[in-house]
Amino acid sequence: MTPALSISHVTKTYPSGLQALKDINLEIRNSEIFALLGPNGAGKTTLISIVCGIVTASAGAVAVDGFDIVRDYRAARTRIGLVPQELNTDTFETLWATVRFSRGLFGREPDAAFLEKVLRDLSLWDKRNDRIMTLSGGMKRRVMIAKALSHQPAILFLDEPTAGVDVELRRDMWALVRGLRDSGVTVVLTTHYIEEAEEMADRIGVISKGELILVEDKVTLMKKLGKKQLTLQLQERMTEIPAGLGDWHLQLAADGNELEYSFDINAERTGISALLRRMGDLGVGYKDLNTHQSSLEDIFVSLVSDRGGSRP
């Protein structure tokens, strides 16, 4: 089966000389949600912009549903919907005019009923005759989604869709994205947040400094990344770990003032409550406790250094 998107050996060097992408290879399957995860400046937007025709790749090839984005740009682009990271809207236009424009621009026949459905799904129908500048930021974000959906794309790119979006709307957006996937649309989204990728994606790609350092099924990846650490600040300094706590493989830290416990958040039982109970039984008191998950940054560092040796 033709992949929804295939990217091979794509590189990008901006005129400034900055190399934003280094030999990217990636295949996106049909009807999957793919999350591109990476810190600021990793190259997520650049990659999406190349696929959508906004930025020209320095080298490499991209095909959408088998259609080359340069040679068969019409066929490729007709299949693409893009919601860019920046909120760029036609401020003076009405919402209705702007979605109608988008649909026409992509060569689709007018279909008021379909556009109505899109606007209703995004809770924008009541605002259809309002000028876009009178809408709130969250609404504008939805307007951009409505524009992208207005021409019925087969693959939808969402560049940081939940930036500056409140919790409720975020949940709505996730539901919308799942609904799209279930109706056969392929979704590629970028995010800074592991939680978001975890919540949404079927597969996750991690990009850092222009390199795609890992592509994995979410389930597999979450197992790898799902380590969390519990730190207990002890009431009394400890020189060695009591034998009764041996099952948890604890470590002493902060000169014996802290106990650390690493656990797997995906495990059935994390073992935290049993540990705390046993500590109570043994009379080991603690002043405070906190948990810490490796930040994305930590994970990148470890991923990059893990692979450091094998790369040329």
Partner: protein, 258 residues
Amino acid sequence: MTRLAFNRRGVGAIYRFEMGRFRRTLLQSVVTPVITTSLYFVVFGSAIGSRISQVNGVSYGAFIVPGLIMLSLFTESISNASFGIYFPKFTGTIYELLSAPVSALEIVLGYVGAAATKSIILGLIILATASIFVPIRIVHPAWMISFLLLTAASFSLFGFIIGVWANGFEQLQFIPMLVITPLTFLGGAFYSISMLPATWRAITLFNPVVYLINGFRWSFYGVSDVSVAISLGMTLGLLGLCLVLVTWIFKTGYRLKN
């Protein structure tokens, strides 16, 4: 899914979108040329016309009408088209145009077509306003329409190029203000170059606007300071030059893409 050979709907969408902007500002778009034209008649027509009764056998008031229309055609075409493409660049909405299945030709047709339509409408409004003040004849109506269309298309293309090139709103005004308006005033919009001293006349013949205005005026009154064939050649040459430039812009992605 069908393979698009020509994205007719895409062109239509751009055209309608641009015309929508025109409709929103309809009042000022129409009132301004009507008032300006009337003022020209009051100032030039009455003040100067009382001293110069006839130019090349045409009453002075009627003589300046083609020049007035051309002046408006130049400036309106440039400003409409340059604004039309500059604004999405400015707001960032250009991303949609760049990511859409529209070819360079279709983008140009949409924007330039809309800009040219607007300036032609304004030109006709000026013509209608002027006909209230002075009797107007159009000896060669087909040529008049041809010059109108070709000039509107060329200057709209030129405006499109300026819009692509511009990096700020002030740059949109720069060329029309500093180049087009002076060339038009010096190009015989309001006088016949035969009225100039010999040296000035020779210099003026290097001004391409002279040919555009004279060709257009010839289609009204059948009189011209220069050969009509050269006028037509100039008009077509200008169009060709702008087409080449626009093609180059899209071939190289100049200032539109990284």
